[in-house]
Subunit: 158 residues, 2 copies
DNA sequence: GCCTCATCATTGGTCGCCCCAATGATGGTG
DNA sequence: CACCATCATTGGGGCGACCAATGATGAGGC
């Protein structure tokens, strides 16, 4: 069983640096590396907006579902309740949403999207759409849909 | 333009918590959420081995390419050079690899996989294979291959 | 009506990972 | 020989995922 060719002691796998097959074929690895690239692109796209991915997620949920409790916001976006607190207060300070106690449920806060928040959401959406194109420019639209569909099935299966 | 039905002020999106469409259809979001799930599974699979994902990546590279410099290991696995240092020293202490200066290049270290390291790599491989099955059990083998192929194209395009 | 349990917002903290900057030593290039 | 690239290494920053605990408050069982 010949080991991969190492010319001599001095030449040690130089300049090429391909990814090992064990990683290249490991789904979790490929998924994670792609996520790193995706996050790099989206973070770059959102840089300068004062918002980050979590903020966009919260605004999206509020826009679609209307006023919600923080617990519900956390659940539907996959953000831990603890972290929702920071995001909500930060965006409330910027006037993108309002936080008031639920008159019917003493322990619950109702978070509401403001018009300014809706505007902010739409501007973030545009920036993120560009990032998606940049990320997936090697794929056809059909292939992009396939990726989303397959990964969604993976997510829904747990 | 009717807003999504909110029954009344008291009933605030309770108990259901679907993912907002803006997130569900955003490739970077779906990819990232899947990566979070994948990392949870792999971390759980590796728990108790004393190793983590980075360690497996390094061992894989050494196994496939033979003795390598730390810089090359970092490049082919996507791990920052700074972080390679910690991984190498940790695994050297456990006897899984050896680190010696390159006689031909004074500034370079040559890292070599030991037989114990190879054994460790194989045992980690088994655990990770199980994690992949758990992650992708909702997909057919062909669909799993498709995911890896498409994501690989995304990765290679940058 | 009371007791128990679940849920809520919030605080505080941990840990891993990605990333960057700088440094001293060394090689390679022109 | 001077300059620039590369090496291993140190140190640190920042973010995101996660966990535990707490006081206040609802809901359901009996």
């Amino acid at each position: 069983m010949a080991l991969p060719t190492i010319g001599y002691a001095g030449e040690v796998n130089s300049t090429a640096n391909p990814t090992p097959a064990r990683l290249r074929t490991l789904p979790s690895w490929v998924i994670n590396q792609t996520a790193i690239a995706a996050n790099r692109l989206t973070d770059r796209a959102l840089a300068g907006t004062g918002s980050r991915r979590h903020h966009f997620a919260m605004l999206s949920a509020l826009d679609e579902f209307g006023p919600s409790s923080q617990a519900d916001l956390g659940r539907c976006t996959g953000i831990d309740r603890s972290d929702v607190v920071a995001v909500v207060t930060a965006m409330a300070e910027r006037g993108f949403l309002e936080q008031r106690p639920d008159p019917a449920h003493g322990r619950r806060n109702i978070v509401t999207l403001t018009p300014a928040g809706k505007d902010h959401l739409e501007s973030l959406s545009v920036l993120l759409a560009d990032a998606q194109n940049e990320l997936l420019h090697a794929l056809s639209p059909a292939e992009s849909r396939t990726i989303v569909e397959l990964l969604t099935r993976v997510l829904d299966s747990r």
